[in-house]
């Protein structure tokens, strides 16, 4: 294995250019180095002006998502040796506007996340003196997979529907809504229904399935969405067949 590899990194400096360009950097190729290590080497030794996000470097914070050789990846979990002899193309996460270099604007996702109320919603909270909410392993199993989401947005990058129509609420938001809908402690399904059953909610999804393929945490957002479509459709049938009293 050669001991160097070339990174072709997208640069975008809005104060000096109207469009992104590509800059090449040659970095050491260590067996245990991820793309993120390569970028850190660039920043530390070759070009301190390169801007990008990262934090935990172990696949749990969701900060370092970028497009590597055309695929949405966590750069801390993608190894340079897998791309040897290279070159490796590193671009900002697709489907998001670019602020600078490899840094993308994620406010859209942040607003959508809040809209689905990703927290336990209850009519009445139990007083502390009553103790904890109890949950069986089976009950936890119902939503556990969807709780693995680290908000890295690789799924949004992979989703062609989101790319074509940024109003689509998107895979992670729906998966996180499901994480709470399916939680036995939660009573907020009806609240989330309004947001999710808008036209740009679950119904804009055409089950491409790319989100599930891109997810580094095996959340299976596509599965969450299809299951929610069934739930929402059943709700619709119920409200159609039975007079709508109070919830």
């Amino acid at each position: 294995m050669a001991d160097r590899i070339t990174l072709q990194v997208t640069r975008y400096r809005p104060e000096q250019e109207a469009e992104p360009s590509v800059q090449e950097y040659e970095v050491p190729l260590h067996k245990d180095w991820a793309v993120l290590d390569g970028l850190n080497h660039v920043k530390d030794h070759l070009d301190g002006t390169l801007s990008y996000r990262w934090s935990c470097r172990m696949g749990i914070c969701g900060s370092c998502g970028m497009t590597v050789n055309g695929e949405p990846k966590l750069t801390c979990a993608t190894f340079l040796s897998d791309y040897a002899p290279g070159p490796v193309r590193v671009e900002p996460l697709r489907n998001f506007p670019v602020i600078r270099d490899l840094v993308v604007e994620i406010t859209d996702f942040m607003t959508k996340l809040v809209k689905v109320k990703p927290w336990i919603v209850r009519e009445e909270e139990k007083p502390l003196s009553d103790g904890e909410y109890l949950q069986t392993p089976a009950e936890m199993d119902e939503y556990k997979q969807f709780s693995m989401c680290i908000n890295c947005m690789l799924c949004y990058s992979a989703c062609p529907v989101y790319g074509l129509d940024p109003q689509f609420i998107g895979p992670a938001a729906i998966a996180l809504a499901q994480r709470y809908n399916l939680d036995s402690r939660d009573e907020g399904s009806a609240d989330r229904l309004d947001v999710l059953s808008e036209h740009e909610g679950v119904w804009a999804c055409t089950f491409v399935g790319e989100c599930t393929r891109a997810c580094p945490k095996d959340v299976d957002p596509a599965g969450a969405i299809q299951r929610y479509k069934v739930t929402a459709a059943m709700e619709s049938v119920k409200s159609f067949l039975m007079p709508r009293g109070d919830r």
Binding site: L164, D165, S197, E198, W203, A232, A233, E235, S236, V237
Partner: protein
């Protein structure tokens, strides 16, 4: 309160149509559009076919299958037009075109299966 959009019910019809078309169309096409015209299988006797098609259960099953398959196709094509041609701003017209055609086809199927046959 959730807006009373027909979207979820349309999606249910789309799903049912997906199952119906997946189960019925391959074998029907294989036999009636390929094998019989090509002579791989001798053509079924005309009177037998007529008797089968005239049976009330066949009429109902075929009508349901055809109508649902048409709604399925219309729904999928609607979203393909949105995403493929990127014309989501023409939402209303596209929806009318897709479901309207599906509805028209269903009416023709109903006439054929319940009145003409």
């Amino acid at each position: 309160m959730a807006r009373r959009s027909p979207e979820p019910l349309v999606w249910l019809a789309f799903s049912a149509g997906g199952v119906a078309s997946a189960l019925l169309l391959p074998i029907l096409l294989l036999l009636l559009a390929v094998a019989v015209p090509l002579g791989w299988v001798s053509p079924p006797d005309h009177d037998h076919l007529l008797a089968v098609v005239r049976h009330p259960i066949t009429r109902l099953a075929l009508f349901a299958g055809f109508a649902l398959a048409l709604v399925h196709a219309g729904h999928r094509l609607r979203y393909t037009l949105y995403d493929g041609l990127q014309i989501k701003h023409l939402k209303a017209q596209i929806a009318m075109l897709c479901y309207g055609t599906a509805a028209a086809g269903s009416v023709v199927a109903a006439y054929l299966l319940f009145i003409a046959v």
